[in-house]
Symmetry: C2
Subunit: 236 residues, 2 copies
Amino acid sequence: MLSYTEENYLKALLKITFDNRSEEVGTNELANVLVVKPATVNDMLKKLKEKELVEYKKYGKITLTANGRKNAIEVLRKHRLWETFLYEKFEFTWDEVHEVAEQLEHIQSGKLIDKLDKFLDYPQFDPHGDPIPNKKGEIKVNFKKTLSDVEVGNSCRMVAVKDNSSSFLQYVVKVGLGINNEIKVLSKQEYDALLVIEVNGVKSSVSQKFAENIFVVCQNCIIGKTCSKTKCEIEK
Amino acid sequence: MLSYTEENYLKALLKITFDNRSEEVGTNELANVLVVKPATVNDMLKKLKEKELVEYKKYGKITLTANGRKNAIEVLRKHRLWETFLYEKFEFTWDEVHEVAEQLEHIQSGKLIDKLDKFLDYPQFDPHGDPIPNKKGEIKVNFKKTLSDVEVGNSCRMVAVKDNSSSFLQYVVKVGLGINNEIKVLSKQEYDALLVIEVNGVKSSVSQKFAENIFVVCQNCIIGKTCSKTKCEIEK
DNA sequence: TAATAAAGTTAGGCTAATCTAACATAAAAA
DNA sequence: TTTTTATGTTAGATTAGCCTAACTTTATTA
């Protein structure tokens, strides 16, 4: 049985491997995500290594073992199912679900998760557009383009967000954006990559940083053409 | 903010005051309920006293302060709402709900509990027949008779159980008992108080210990007569 | 390639929650 | 009322998860 804290470490490792599109994670990076000091991570790594949940060598990179990954995916599954539950059944907003799901994801009961999954009719995506792992632990990893990758003049469809913080999500709502919205990129500032976009006929300016946190599928991919930049979706 | 452990101490104190029908709790008693050593309880009492959640003096009895009681009732409310949820919405059985509710009761989210309460249509009793405190913290405390108080030849109706352990509850089911069942006491052994009861036409023998854990309303109370022993229900 | 910066490690400490063993007090029984 | 038993307390230790400060190794850059 894993502790609440151990589960969070594994989940953070999994999240980083998804975000970085690499299996290798550094101590500082993990410390940042967990909002603890690198020294603390170092201590915990010894324990996780002992339990054969991660592999790492002194001054080397951290990787999840098969078992570590399995556990991490289980936590992720629970997190995303609870988010979906809160959003769909309890009228929680987009930006409220994360905080409570952070607590609920640690509840230990296989039956509870099975029933939750069934109750929600086996959802495939959570309210942020992220894929929910199935009971077998299979997860569709979509390496998606972000809004900042879309060429000027082109359109795209928003499919998910990268940043799940409530401050970011509230901003997204303010700009009039939501999942499945059509976004047209009208112009891009040379100097600071400031974008002017149009959503439902309304024009807004958004920063580079903002655009990097909006996952999209671009028009080319929608109509079946080859993408010039990052491919929109890769199944894994 | 209270820790998971502090919440459990307060909840246990509340439970004991209900069970004993007295506000005064001893260190050993509390240690037994929490399955920790008396020394541990002693340490924690210092902290709870510091936080003004309990009152106690060296070698004296422990009592909850108004604030301690308020917190304890909030945890109890969450516990019983979650039990009801699991039982009614997720097809958990009587004996399965407690363990998972022990975890869920610590989730911190006022909105979640409000929505849960609404979703269940503001239930008044949990699956074990225990009253659910309302949002204001009001709780109907029913000092009930147990099956062992019922006179031979009389009938009664089961309203709740005292022991919520899954082993006890499974045994209750095995005997054919459930909430609102009519029970007739056919005979009582002088020597060991072994009872022969009849439920839905089926006769069973049950021990003294078993009978003490079944709360009932007796026939006299049902038809409005005065009870010879403990009064069946007292509102508080 | 040598100096500097970034990343990672170690040692020693802290707090919360637990324990055991020894001791103190209060209650019950003889 | 004295002894015994039950109950409660204290001291000292342990574990998990965290910290700071000092140090080491690896990576970057001048």
